[in-house]
């Protein structure tokens, strides 16, 4: 199950002092149902803000956002979010943090526990189910938050740099897990990332955003075959796409 996301003329200006901050927009974005879109852009260009607006957690200053054809008015609940700071709670262990989804939604724990354990296993945390977040490394905390965003099988998944604090090896592993999961379940995924390679490796389409106030400077289709194995990522076409995005960034003086 999946839903389409349509962003029409959305913009956000924060009424901050001494001067209001124009974070991004107006911009248009279409994410087809079941597709995987990555958003890349320099720090502070409004990526997190846009994601929060899509989730209905933050009001925009202009424009309209539709999810599954319905305009977003308040917080969406048929959704899984990985926040930029992973917000785990110290009074619950790893499994308990993942099952916070069940408790907050009023779903019996038993109904979600098998899936929670399966997800934890898939990200290599099966031996850590009873550990508290403060006993984990930063990357392990992020993987826990990742599981919590997926455990209730939401049709739309928003991820704000979920692989940011991971080492190269785990990151590689998680990328392929994420791709496999996505290919199997056909969810709509919007991934915000700083990693250009990561975006090209995972996404059907990469949306490149300019420095603040963020606007879409280019949308790049990634026609590479799936699964995007290491061999695929060594192809000239992969490097050409990465190079194109990097040059865009350079033209803004970012890289």
């Amino acid at each position: 199950m999946s839903v389409a996301v349509e962003v029409r003329g959305a913009a956000k200006t924060f009424p901050a002092s001494p001067a209001p901050v124009h974070a991004f927009g107006p911009l248009d974005l279409d994410v087809a149902a079941g597709s995987f879109v990555a958003i890349v852009g320099p720090s502070g260009c409004g990526k997190s803000t846009l994601l929060l607006m899509i989730a209905g957690l933050l009001d925009g200053s202009a424009g309209e956002i539709r999810v599954g054809g319905r305009p977003v008015r308040g917080p969406l609940t048929e959704i899984g979010i990985v926040f930029q700071s992973h917000v785990l709670v110290d009074w619950r262990d790893v499994l308990g943090n993942v099952l916070l989804q069940a408790d907050l939604r009023g779903i019996p724990r038993a109904a979600l526990e098998p899936r929670a354990r399966e997800l934890l296993r898939s990200v290599g945390l099966d031996g850590f189910a009873t550990r508290r977040p403060y006993e984990l490394s930063g990357g392990m905390q992020q993987r826990t938050a990742f599981c919590r965003a997926l455990v209730h099988d939401p049709p739309l998944v928003l991820m704000d740099e979920p692989l940011g604090a991971l080492d190269a090896m785990t990151r590689e592993q998680l990328r392929s897990d994420l791709e496999r999961l996505w290919m199997r379940t056909g969810k709509t995924v919007i991934l915000v990332t700083h990693g250009i390679e990561e975006a090209v490796q995972l996404a059907d389409r990469v949306v490149v955003i300019s420095p603040r106030p963020g606007r879409i400077v280019r949308e790049i289709e990634v026609p590479l075959p799936r699964p995007r194995t290491l061999e695929v990522c060594e192809q000239a076409e992969f490097h050409a796409l990465v190079g194109e995005i990097r040059r865009l960034f350079a033209s803004y003086g970012v890289v």
């Binding site: 989730a55 917080p75 969406l76 609940t77 926040f83 917000v87 110290d90 916070l100």
Partner: protein, 260 residues
């Protein structure tokens, strides 16, 4: 940690008290300090023993006021803190009033309460309640209004009802700061009860200490002070114990690193 290792670590803390008492006894005896100025510990212990029935009875009186006032303050302070944290109206009206009242030394009301309510149990209970109520209320308001934004957003994205969110997120997140208030209140409670009895009581350790000092029976006074100290420690220790059991996950409760 092994038992012997534990003992070795605690030893300095356990040894200073007997050492201090021996030193005190020696100095008082050597300098022949009169009993009505500073009594030796042996005399204090003797008085404690001789007056044990009365001291035990008064300990129950003072302990009852202390515990009673404390518990009523918890029962009233926590829900009220919750109400203030979530009601913009109460935040604008009640909260500033509470902060102002917090500045008033509550003990100044004690003579007034004696006039209104007599020498019995009630005025002491009110004083203890007052000195406990404000730390609990103010820390409670802080506790319930400082949930991190992204945690609130996570809850919103699950469509959680207010009750579920309170039970699974708000309450556990608030507990550490709530206990800051409880511990502050526990410290205030014994002080409040003692002084309230002192100012206008016909029973209790505060009342007894006034009689003892009035008769220049410093050995008895010291014995009562000792019991009061134990009473205060007991209440504080009980609160700290509940905190330890309830919040093993909190930063302040985690085992110290082995290198420390």
């Amino acid at each position: 940690m092994a038992w012997s290792e534990r003992l070795r670590r605690r030893a300095p803390g356990l040894l200073w008290a007997p050492g201090f008492l021996v030193l005190w006894e020696a100095i008082v005896r050597l300098l022949e300090v009169p009993l009505y100025i500073v009594p030796p510990p042996s005399a204090v212990l003797w008085q404690l023993w001789r007056n044990l029935p009365r001291i035990a009875h008064y300990t129950l009186v003072t302990g009852g006021e202390t515990l009673g006032g404390f518990l009523i303050a918890v029962a009233a302070g926590v829900p009220l803190a919750l109400a203030v944290a979530f009601s913009p109206f109460l935040r604008q009206t009640f909260y500033p009033a509470a902060v102002t009242l917090e500045m008033v030394p509550k003990i100044a009301f004690a003579p007034l309460f004696v006039t209104w309510f007599g020498f019995g149990y009630l005025p002491k209970l009110i004083i203890v309640f007052l000195v406990c109520f404000f730390p609990i209320l103010l820390n409670g308001i802080l506790a319930f209004s400082s949930l991190p934004l992204e945690l609130r957003r996570l809850c919103a994205s699950t469509g959680a009802t207010a009750l579920r969110m309170f039970w699974h997120v708000r309450l556990p997140a608030a507990l550490p700061q709530l206990f800051v208030g409880f511990k502050g209140a526990a410290v205030n409670a014994t002080v409040g009860a003692t002084i309230a009895e002192w100012i206008g009581g016909d029973a209790g350790l505060g009342y007894y200490i006034q009689i003892a000092t009035g008769d220049l029976r410093m050995d008895l006074a010291f014995a009562i002070i000792m019991v009061l100290a134990l009473l205060g420690l007991a209440l504080f220790g009980a609160v700290a114990l509940v905190e330890r059991l309830l919040l093993p996950w909190h930063v302040s409760q985690r085992l110290p690193p082995t290198t420390a």
